[in-house]
Amino acid sequence: MANISSDISHSLAGAILVISFMLLYQERMFGLLKVFAMQAMVLSIAVAWQAYTQQAAHLYVTAAIAFGVKGVVIPWSLHRIVPKLGIYRNIEKVVGVGMTMLAGVGLTVLAIMVIFPVTTEETGVVREDLAFAFAVILLGFLMMITRRNAVSQIIGFMSLENGLILAATGAKGMPLVVEISVAFSVLIAFFVFGVFIFRIRERFDTIDVDNLNQFRGDRG
């Protein structure tokens, strides 16, 4: 039984990692939102499974927050924002899909190489879960770097936060207060991003953040 339960949480963590790669691969705005919602839902299943195996009732609250806020509310509101911004077309990227995916694999290897030496007391599956969570965080960073479009940068940020939750729930004894405050700070960050996007759009008629570069002091 113990074996099966850790196998299932391991597979769910792996699925979240694969969905991070799907986010990197995705080219269309609405596709991106759907994949992001899917990641949040798989995350909430993974958290709920942890709650069940750890007998920790407060993790069910975390799962519900992940499902409600990131699986439904944020994708839905982005779904409404995107047509207003008029960006249903393909997402512009800094480098091609192939390079991004290879960089993603490199980051996954990095995550494993970093996590494994520092967690030698733990069992194999827990270490791999932590490594997966760290890889999801790094892939979120990668996504924010490689996309020009502000909306997909938000998605990168949110998926980074998914990785944080995955890492936190894998460890036992995470207090509920921390999780709730993290969830709400993400929601607030989302609002700030939203306002920010509309400001960029008003100013430049586009949400390509490359335009912000002309305000950098070193360019003159």
């Binding site: 196998d7 299932i8 990692l17 694969v18 995916m101 694999v105 190489m113």
Partner: protein, 316 residues
């Protein structure tokens, strides 16, 4: 010894005999899903029979290569399909069923067909060959990654041992196995020229890949090529069954009864695979040729990830 030879012979003939039936079942299911009646499931046999009795027309400038290629490709694919353990894990020639060797056999067949496509010098043949080689050059690294992952798990590239290992050892849910399952689905869709990479039932010149390459063939040559395509599909299905669902496969020491059970299980799994393929093909649309590179790149990344996970986590 005699029994061994007979079993191997059964395996060789069963893959050949069932190949058109599998194609027929897939076509029938697709037709039913699209609310058409569809041809009978044994229609591919009739097609082959009709083609065998038609005159084989040859272009005036066709070389000997053009004539030899269908048989060479057919032989290579048939050997590959006959080597995969389908219903029993202990066949006579299983020592030769090395995954790398099998992939090399398929590569040989594809190389021969691509040469033949360019032999006559028509535009379509050239386009088809170049596209086929592009897809192959992207699919093969992904396939190698899949092989590495399986080899790391089972400590061998010998297919019969892999199948037996996976059928008997409780390895549980492995993330790497899940990753290569997806990667292998993508690779085999590309290799078999199925939707979304290629459409096996169209002759629309802008989109066709495999059909463009063999466009000039007719008569018995075309019959052999169609049979080769069906056989290749059976091969990939058997590979899936052998790696991911080898339950029911007869062990090397089992008696006649075990072999019969293995055969029933194999045929059942093959038909389930055919239905799944038909449903999947009905649900997705064909993608642009230039998107194929990214699609197969995804398979490569998944395979790489699976290998890395197994390799790195083993090393520490």
């Amino acid at each position: 010894m005699i029994a061994d030879i007979i079993l191997q012979g059964v395996q060789m003939s069963i893959v050949l005999l069932i190949a058109p039936l599998l194609t027929g079942v897939i076509r029938k299911v697709k037709a039913r899903l699209l609310r058409r009646r569809g041809a009978s499931v044994i229609q591919p046999y009739y097609d082959l029979w009709r083609l065998l009795h038609k005159e084989a027309l040859m272009a005036e400038n066709a070389s000997w290569l053009y004539r030899v290629v269908p048989y060479a490709a057919f032989a290579a694919v048939w050997v590959a399909a006959a080597l995969v353990p389908t219903f029993a894990a202990g066949l006579l020639f299983n020592w030769a069923a090395d995954l790398l060797a099998i992939v090399a056999l398929l590569g040989t067949a594809r190389f021969a067909l691509a040469l033949a496509g360019m032999d006559v010098g028509t535009g379509f043949g050239g386009i088809g060959s170049s596209r086929e080689m592009m897809i192959a050059s992207l699919a093969e690294p992904a396939m190698l990654m899949i092989i590495f992952t399986v080899a790391l798990l089972a400590q061998t590239t010998q297919l019969s041992i892999i199948a037996y290992y996976i059928a008997t050892t409780p390895i549980g849910l492995r993330v790497s196995l899940g990753l290569i399952l997806v990667a292998l689905v993508i690779v085999s869709l590309a290799e078999n020229a199925r939707i979304p990479v290629d459409n096996p039932s169209t002759h629309l010149e802008l989109t066709m890949v495999h059909e463009a390459m063999v466009l000039e063939y007719s008569g018995r040559h075309l019959a052999i090529i169609e049979l080769t395509a069906s056989l290749k599909l059976v091969f990939y299905m058997s590979l899936f069954v052998c790696i991911f669902a080898p339950f029911g496969i007869a062990s090397p020491a089992s008696s006649m009864g075990g072999n019969v059970i293995g055969m029933m299980a194999y045929l059942g799994k093959l038909m389930i695979g055919g239905v799944l393929l038909a449903v999947g093909e009905t649900m997705v649309a064909k993608m642009r040729v230039f998107r194929v590179a990214e699609f197969l790149g995804g398979a490569l990344v998944l395979g790489l990830l699976a290998t890395v996970l197994l390799f790195v986590s083993r090393g520490m």
